[in-house]
Amino acid sequence: MKNRLFDALRASRADYTEIRLERSWATTVAYRGRRLEGASAGLDCGGFVRCLNRGRGWGIVSFTSIGRLPSMVARAHEMSLSVPVDEPIRLAPIPVRQGDVRGDLDGDVRGIPLEEKQALLERLNGEMFGVDRRIVDTQAAYHDEVTEYWFGNSDGVLIHELRPEVSLSAVAVAVEHGIIERGLESIGLRRGWISIQAREELFLRAARRAIALLHASRIRSGTYPVVLDPKLAGVFVHETIGHLSEADFLAQNHEAGALMTPGRRVGSPELNVGDDGSAAGRRGTLPYDDEGTPTQNTLLVQNGVLVGRLHSRETAARMGQRPTGNARALSFRHPPIVRLSNTYIANGKGTFEDLIRDIKLGVYACDALGGRAHLEDYSFTSGYAHMIRDGKVAEIVKPATLAGKLFETLDRIDRIGGDFRWNEMGGGCGKGGQAPLPVGEGAPHVRIRDMRVGGELA
């Protein structure tokens, strides 16, 4: 593979050429109720070529027949030549590295027979039914992947990696007197077979949550002091400041650019936000991004002030900044675009109890079922929530929808706890048709003075 890549790079007539070749082994097992939905293994192979010429645009090619690499490089070059551009595309320089990174395969999943993976999931799925008779339905899924990855470009960067991934997800459905409730849990790790063992607790939690929600009441819609748990706070910062800090979006979208002016104060001096693709052992962590740039920790908000943006080589050159190692591609089928890696709110001070002590009536919103944001508008659904009454966590309530305007909300963050945690949720991030990209999020508990909470549905 390495020789193929070398030869193709050498033969290219374009000013800049980059090639990725991937071979990905993946296994999926899924249960619905007590029945196995399916267990299968797939092999996904392919390549990606991108060429750039002076005064011309990108020519981009992807293919599944790796034997056709030489003709695909020629095609990408031709396609680049067919795009005259007025504004030249430049790439900010990056260090020329030759890397061979074999991620810790942690018990290589490729060596484990399908029967063992199926047996593991069957047992975990069964745990949910064991919790209570009112658990009438479940969904359980196991997924693993090992991707062998080669990257090379005409600047001399050459990288070889083995990237492992493993995830479990659990959905428990409880029914009583016509009321249906769900509990959801998931875990996703850049690890292997060993780290995914002994995860019964995850499945038990999903089932217990579904049962607890059966007798939960709905929150009365209104404005409350809200404390976000680290999971929901992490998802919130990813969907809002995280995505708004992606330089490709800022360059294309004047309004977003205006919202995100560097130096703008967006929160209290305790608010620090960043994106760290180099954080040890996290799901969004990689040694290099898909342009060969080493990953790093990039501060986005420092002491409440916007200070940074996330870049590819192209957006960095356009804005006169340095690449941050955030150009990522979902697979060989896609070009690298500016993406988040591990987005976080940094630690503040104080315990969870300190945050809720002086709240007479509020909401403790936990976990995320989903979240979307568009510019300043956001809407999130928590996985579940508790009322806070007289400074204490009180009864569980049904999932709450939190919606509002980002900068108003940031301005109302009045406490950031000192109990930072990285999330280990499965799933992933979607942008430009590339989903799910493995990412990580982290945060401590965060308190927001007034937040609009929708609990009752029509």
Partner: protein, 431 residues
């Protein structure tokens, strides 16, 4: 290549079927009115299913090399769920045109011209125009151990446009989409442009959002919140799992009498059209809702076998997973009124053109609560301006029961189509 594979699979398993799909796509991306990149993608995927010792197994691979594929499918069958599955025999296929030589032969220059035409028509001062032009050529080949061997070619042209206008510290984003198997004609492009420009004009003035129960008109492109629950509820699999709220309503009036929903695989030139499904079952139109009455649910071979009914011809295969039931073209039957006629009787209400966050939460239950991403206030039967802070909270099944009018223009989003729908008594929360 498909022949030897099915032969060997047939020798090693009780039964087998294989689908080979190829695709090649040219994509032109225009940003801020300028061609920014051209890309080409080709993909070949082979999906093999075997039945061995009464159990189903599946495996997939990309590229030409299918070595090891049968072994992996057999390994999958060893842990697979027992099921009696009869693969279909060869049968005559209905006629539908899915491949247009003119679209297949279009040169990159022609596609660039299409993009430039859209940009010229949409460009206005203070507006940014982004356009994507896409041309796909594909093929589907099927073979099984019952002797079925069939295939067809598809062509596809997709045009999508987005106009962003900055308005003080607010931006209006208006998007639209045109997709079909043939090159679009000028009238279709003009209609798309007119619709987008009209919506941009409407958004020039920002007016306060109304609050309370009121008539709401959903444009064809914003009906996903109403139709997504139905897409799940009409899956035979949801019925089997006891998850479909419509399962017990077959034959009953569950929606307003004006509401008709069908799956339409045999429409010429539409994105989801096909003469057969990916399991070799010949395609046919299927009524899901007729004049408000729940009719049929969709099944692929496996869910049909489990439910002891016949497949409705809705198996869809991707490279790596086992076949899943999926719609071809999902179409809400249009009414007879123009959008202007539809909103004319509304004294005070909302025209919703986009909701934020559709698809979150418990979709099949039908309940939703979404901020309006793009919406306009209707006063005395006319659009008075854009509203920026409003949310709609409702239940899709309930809304489709209270639908009082339908537009005559179908808006296609990918392979689903809906007209504008006017609904009475929708709960709107303005700020």
């Amino acid at each position: 290549m498909i022949g030897p594979l099915i032969e060997e699979a047939g020798r090693r398993a009780h039964a087998a079927d294989v689908a080979v799909k190829t695709d090649e796509t040219v994509t032109l991306t225009f940003e801020a009115g300028r061609l920014r990149s051209t890309s080409y993608a080709e993909e070949r995927g082979t999906n093999l299913r075997v039945i061995s010792n009464g159990r189903l197994g599946v495996a997939g691979v990309t590229g030409e090399d299918t070595g090891g594929l049968i072994d992996r499918a057999l390994a999958s069958a060893r842990v697979g769920d027992p099921l009696e599955l009869l693969l279909p025999e060869a049968a005559p296929l209905p006629r539908v045109t899915t491949h247009y030589p003119r679209a297949a032969a279009a040169q990159i220059e022609e596609l660039v011209q299409l993009g430039r035409l859209l940009i010229d028509r949409l460009s206005r001062n203070g507006c940014q125009v982004n356009v994507v032009v896409e041309r796909t050529l594909g093929s589907v080949q099927l073979s099984n151990t019952q002797g079925l061997e069939a295939g067809y070619d598809v062509s596809g042209i997709g045009l999508s446009a987005e106009v962003i206008r900055v308005q003080g510290d607010q931006a209006v984003v208006v998007g639209d989409y045109l997709a079909g198997a043939d090159l679009p004609g000028l009238p279709a492009i003009e209609a798309m442009v007119d619709g987008m420009l009209r919506r941009i004009e409407w958004a020039e003035r920002i007016v306060p959002a109304p609050s309370g129960r009121m008539p709401v008109c959903f444009t064809g492109g914003s009906t996903a919140a109403l139709l997504l629950p139905l897409q799940l509820a009409f899956l035979g699999k949801s019925v089997l799992q006891g998850a479909s709220p419509l399962a017990e309503k077959a034959g009953e009036q569950a929606f307003a009498a004006g509401f008709t929903l069908s799956d339409e695989p045999l429409l010429d030139a539409r994105p989801g059209s096909r003469p057969m499904d990916d399991e070799g079952v010949p395609s046919a139109r299927l009524a899901l809702v007729e004049a408000g009455v729940v009719r049929h649910f969709i099944y692929d071979l496996e869910t049909a076998a489990r439910a002891r009914v016949r497949s409705t011809g809705h198996g869809r295969r991707s490279t790596f997973a086992k076949p899943q039931a999926a719609y071809s073209n999902l179409v809400v039957a249009p009414g007879d009124r123009s959008l202007a006629e539809l909103i004319a009787p509304v004294e005070d209400g909302l025209l919703v053109d986009g909701l934020l966050g559709v698809g979150q939460g418990n979709v099949i239950g039908g309940a939703f609560s979404h901020p309006v991403a793009l919406g306009y206030r209707i006063r005395q039967g006319e659009i008075s301006g854009r509203v920026t802070r409003a949310a709609v909270a409702a239940n899709a099944y309930d809304l489709l029961n209270r639908m009082v009018g339908l537009g005559r223009e179908l808006q296609w989003i990918g392979s689903s189509a809906a007209p504008a729908m006017l609904v009475d008594g929708v709960s709107v929360v303005g700020e």
